[in-house]
Symmetry: C2
């Protein structure tokens, strides 16, 4: 069997890749100042897997035989390591427990189908055996979309999509490609890039997540300003259900009743298994630059970004870090050991001095990155347009140096979370989208809500934010928070996270802009789409999956909600 790549069984990313602070002199002092803790020397570079910690799989023989028959293969496994890898996503509470050999409800078996027909046969076998099916992409979700109810008495089958890969069709005239849902981000981009094309979808999880996962969780990428959210990118798809297969042909737009495409996107496995996807692709841009700007304050920066959206300057992404996140970002700068780095550090000191002379409070300043793609002429023109808007809002343009650095590091943040966890610090993220008129209120309210939660726990905590996506009517705010875990990390985490989520929905924001619902966010669904909206979704799930076989308890009716942990 072809090998399917998975992340570390206990944490983020590739074996052997870790966050390192030894070469970042400002990092430990920053953590000391903001979380009140002394970082311990790095202890754990890996956690050896111990199969003896995993209970045997009680997979019924009849189901095993049926799965083997469905796939006509040995691609059916009850291996302990496989079951652990497939038994959780990447939410911080899941990783905390798993890294302590506390696995929760594990699937009994993992199956690797290779074709749509095999997926269909597996689904039918599961319905027949009254088993539960949980599709598995990269396992990167942080909304507990894979988590299983410990009281689930039926056998659980994890359906790994990792062999349903490949760029099956590329229509270069239309800019459309049909791609296997199990394909990982880097593999997919490599295959498209080799032919001169790109999907342009780069979520933080890019290196370890799959196209099918992006579809099933309604993902959005860092470059969605240009390329669109996954719902814009997806133009057609194949969804295998126990009762049959839905095939949606790729069209630019259509008027054919309620959108099935938009029902499957975000369905997190509850309506069937997405096996391949027709996506909008773009020719690789001739030129690409990321330019950095420093604004005196958050509100100057938000006004500027809103003006860029109103002026409809075609940018690839526009991002602002608030003052806390800007300070954090500076704290992760590497030690200036090379001459080049020393010159840069000197230049930065001079810049800070210059800003202070201009009357800036350097504790308030916010860094912004804007990415431009296109022909040289397009890039130059758009860059000029944005520079003018930035200047009008008091910004200094810092050029492409910091932008290139940001671009290199953009997929590294999740490693930091594992590092912090190892230091007994719970760090996680929470994001929303809201109309422009609510952006500042939400920003302020979340800070107040998080601080209240930290106070309630009697802890020093830290929160920071960036604006990650902008639209005509509003934007996405993305918060990162951290605090030192105590005796009851689940309850402490739930206390902080619920405070932040509640501040979103109380102030006109939505539950999540791109992390999905899973079990983690399910408790707020009624507040976001109304009680009757939840009733309608529940009716849809129950009527189309009367046996409740398809990833039950996600989106609505979560059996393990965040509230339960309070």
């Amino acid at each position: 069997m072809k090998q399917v790549k998975h992340m570390k069984w206990w944490g983020w990313g590739e074996e052997g890749v870790f966050f390192n602070y030894a070469n970042k002199p400002a990092f430990a002092p920053f953590v000391k100042k903001h979380l009140g803790i002394d970082l311990r020397p790095r202890q754990v570079d890996t956690i050896p897997f111990d199969a003896s910690t995993v209970p045997d799989s009680p997979l019924p023989d009849a189901l095993r035989d049926a799965l083997v028959a469905a796939t006509a293969s040995d691609r059916v496994t009850t291996d302990a390591h496989e079951r652990v890898v497939h038994g959780h996503g990447s939410s911080v509470t899941e990783l905390l427990h798993v890294s302590r050999f506390d696995y929760g409800r594990l699937p009994e078996v993992v199956v690797y189908p290779e074709t749509d027909d095999e997926v269909a046969a597996v689904l039918r076998a599961c319905v027949e055996a009254d088993a539960v099916v949980v599709p598995f992409g990269g396992g990167t979700n942080i909304s507990r979309s894979l988590q299983l109810d410990p009281t689930e008495a039926r056998p659980i089958v994890s359906l790994d999509m990792g062999l349903l890969v490949g760029v099956h069709e590329l229509d270069t005239e239309s800019g459309l490609a049909r791609i296997g849902a199990g394909m990982l981000g880097p593999d997919l981009e490599e295959a498209l890039n080799a032919r001169g094309w790109t999907l342009g979808h780069f979520p933080d999880s890019f290196t370890h997540s799959t196209l099918g996962g992006w579809a099933a969780t309604r993902s959005s990428g860092m470059q969605s300003d240009k390329y669109g959210d996954i719902a814009d990118i997806i133009r057609g798809m194949t969804v295998v259900r126990p009762s049959g297969t839905v095939t949606l042909k790729p069209v630019p737009s259509e008027s054919t009743g309620p959108s099935l495409r938009e029902m499957f996107i975000g369905s997190e496995g509850r309506l069937g298994v997405i096996t391949d996807v027709w996506v909008r692709v773009h020719r690789l841009a001739e030129e690409r630059v990321v330019v950095a700007y420093m604004y005196p304050t958050w509100s100057d920066a938000v006004d500027a970004i809103h003006s860029i959206a109103e002026a409809e300057v075609p940018t690839t992404f526009v991002r602002i870090s608030d003052a806390h996140e800007t300070a954090f970002s500076l704290s992760t700068q590497k030690e200036a050991v090379t001459l080049k780095k020393k010159v840069e550090a000197k230049a930065q000191e001079q810049l800070w001095a210059f800003m202070r002379r201009r009357g800036w409070d350097t504790d308030q300043m916010c860094i912004s990155y804007v990415c431009f793609e296109g022909s040289k002429g397009d890039v130059d023109g758009r860059r000029r347009d944005v520079a003018l808007i930035a200047k009008r809002h008091g910004a200094l343009t810092l050029g492409t140096g910091p932008g290139a650095l940001y671009d290199q590091k953009k997929f590294d943040t999740p490693y930091l979370r594992d590092f912090l966890l190892e230091q007994d610090v719970m760090g996680d993220v929470s994001e929303t989208a809201a109309p422009w008129s609510r952006i500042n209120t939400i920003h302020d309210s979340v800070y107040v809500a998080a601080q209240d939660a930290f106070d309630k726990l009697g802890k020093q905590g830290f929160i920071m934010c960036h604006l990650s996506h902008s639209y005509h009517v509003g934007a996405c705010l993305y918060f990162t928070f951290a605090f030192q875990a105590g005796e009851e990390p689940d309850r402490e985490y739930a206390t902080v996270k619920t405070a932040i989520q509640q501040a979103f929905v109380d102030n006109g924001g939505t539950l999540s802009h791109h992390h999905g619902v899973g079990m983690e966010h399910a408790p707020w669904m009624e507040q976001v789409v109304s009680t009757e909206g939840v009733n309608l979704m529940r009716t849809l799930f129950n009527a189309t999956d009367p046996g409740n076989h398809l990833n039950p308890g996600k989106i609505v009716d979560a059996s393990l909600s965040l509230y339960d942990q309070l």
Copy 2:
């Protein structure tokens, strides 16, 4: 009660407004040449309504009392004229029958609710009485979305949305407005324009259709290249259902499971009644021009339009008429009576002569219109970009004169259909969307399919086409066809229309880009979204409306399909 405006009971638009060919010298010869008929002098300017042709309403007293109680009002009527107006949409077959006093299944009663609570009370009363509810916006749909099954034994209640109007909220910071679903296009634009804003949604039916109707049928407007299809424009909504009300707050984008918003858009009344809608609005553009270009051939024009889309020039709309439609358009030019018109006519003759000297076949040439909006600088720059692309594809730029004329006449086409019907000519439209790689194939296949159908009927027929919307991955093709009706106009119409629709789906196009499904297009749903897709929709409708009270038989399970008329 405040008066709700309706169209003529037997045809399109306002009383007293008609298509007139007396001042268009080339029109009658064009019709003679292409349809083989001599136009008769205009006979019918109006058809007097005759209440004696309408059977009495068998509305049960208990239901009448319940509806009066639900609305606490006299806004409940069984008036014959009201029932006829509310008993049909504007498909050509419906108009043909109605204008001959053949009404089909009429609703028993028309109710005008004024509030969401009244809508809810009406819905509950209808479920209680086992009655059917059909929401009514402007009655402009041409997909038979209002048509009722003649065998429907239960009472039918037409729910006129005309009193649920007004711009309720305008968030100028975010570019968002909450607007009553019953608001007609011109009223809505007038109210927004007065405050410096526009919705920018201009379907052909604009003057007589409503925001709620656009939402319920998944509409797209002439300027959707800039402003988006209605699914892009709508950011939140209120939907009243018998079991409760769904409230979706306006957000730019969200990751909260299957999209309820995208389930209600296009639901044609089957999931509830849309009572108000949060829409994306834009500040009125400083400048707006429509520029015309003449291309030597259709394929040159399509290539140019595709290049404009690829270059991402921000246009408001881009449209090409094929050679047949260009010729038709020229046939509707008014007689040159004023000096100005005479000068223009002379200039046109000279232009044609110039084109022929350049080797153009003037029977092949295609006119294109492109609309630009923005600051003067934006408009000038974009116009320059498009002119370069047009020139590269052999086009002559004709300037803003023909564009201004197109802009004035753009909502007039439906009047022509009534005129033709009066002349015993069936004229109607059929549209699709497809990837760029399928556009030329579909264009050619539809011409062949229509000609085959005309031949089968032993008739001379005419068909023409324009490309009306372009996207990154494809475009919308919009066909207009006409033929002289014989003894069996329904069957003849069905013969031609089914041939065209089948050519769409056989060649990679969708069923409809923006006219919805209704009963007219329902027979193709399985071919477009697959059998299992239809099963899923049916399950959704049946499970959420177990009594089948909400506009039954639309989208799937149409009791009167086009096939039935063959």
